[in-house]
């Protein structure tokens, strides 16, 4: 009887621990992913940079302007003048990929 109770408790603890471990891992990964956004990105290393991503803003050198951005999980929201760009970001090797419903933009890292 006691052994059955103990087995149940142990089972619940194991399940809980399993999920908690997963949680820690995923949080670290997401934080890392956002940190990885920071840097200078462009179409290639031989061209002018498209933008410099800072912790809370994106600077577009061709336009001499910065825009605020936010992230939520793997989504990125860039607050342009009068509208918000919404897309998904991910990394493919060392490249940054910004995806929308219709297209995918790939940028190489020019500067960390």
């Amino acid at each position: 009887m006691k052994s059955k109770i103990l087995k149940s408790i142990v089972l619940i603890l194991i399940v809980s621990l399993f999920f908690m471990c997963q949680n820690t891992k995923s949080k670290v990964t997401k934080a890392d992913e956002k940190d990885k956004l920071v840097g200078v990105w462009g179409p290639s290393i031989n061209e002018n940079a498209s933008f410099r991503i800072q912790p809370d803003s994106i600077y577009y050198p061709e336009y001499f302007k910065s825009y605020k951005y936010t992230t939520r999980k793997d989504s990125i929201f860039i607050h342009f003048d009068g509208w918000i760009f919404k897309g998904i970001f991910c990394f493919r090797n060392d490249s940054l990929v910004l995806k929308t419903q219709d297209k995918e933009n790939v940028y190489v890292r020019i500067v960390e």
Binding site: F19, M20, Q22
Partner: protein, 327 residues
Amino acid sequence: MYNPDEVFETSSGFKLLTSDFLIFVLMPAIQTTTSISRYTSDARAQSYTGEYNPGNPTTWGTCPLCGCSFDSSGNCCCGGVNGCGCQYCGATITCGSTCYCQYWNGGGCHCDNCGTDYDCYSCHDCNSYNGPCYCSTHGISYDCTSCPLCNNSGEGGGGGGTPGENTGLINFGEGINSETVSQITRNILQEVMSCAGITSLRITSTTRTPESQASAMYDNCENLGATNQKDLYANAGDQVIDAYSQGKAQNLSRDQIIQMMISKINEVGPTNVSKHCANPDVLNVIDISPSSISNQGAFENCLASNPGISNFIAPPTDPVFHIEIPQ
């Protein structure tokens, strides 16, 4: 079959309902440990088209597109489906459109044939049928017998004439030099607008001169440092920044350094320094505000398919639709 009232009963008499088990044990574990993927429909982001500072209602002000106040949720009424009140005359206009009443009595349209300046809202009727009348305010060329604005806007005006195929409105942002936008470019923009089924767009920038490029680069080097700026440019731009550094090392004045930078820009080729720098007689470069485009997807597809456009860059690579049109 799931039964919330089913009881887990241990042999020690400890009872736990299935529903309790799910609520108190499994669900918290799942909620805190896994990311439940939800589609985040940000209605505000989709509907507002004006400028506002999320989270700070005191800075929302009025919508620059239509002059209306943002609602309590921060939405600009321009993005709504109902009519929007014009800030100038109070007339109900289509949300997101421009109310041309602001040009009443202000002139702004000009007929090349008879040299008459007139209020764009009236229908100018010179004697030159089929001649090239041109509205400098809105960048529209049209048959002089038709009035582009009063026919297109559907509001007031003198009426008369039949609008041609090129009926879209090309608006220019404040301080934009519309003279560098050629007729070829305007015609191509009309084609794109017609293709995409949109009625208006707003140009926010045109071709940049080497002087303005050098001036902006100088200011950035002053504010952020030459090293910081070199991260952002390819070889040609780096040479311009080197010219800045040389000028600073020689203690030259701002004007002298900018002159050195201009010389370097011309030496390496303006288009190699910035895609906004070009000779407008050879290449028209224009930026169009995405917030002025009612259907961005269709617009982008039509830009891609227009043979008159040599290059275009869309958000998020650029914050605007950047378009290059050879002349």
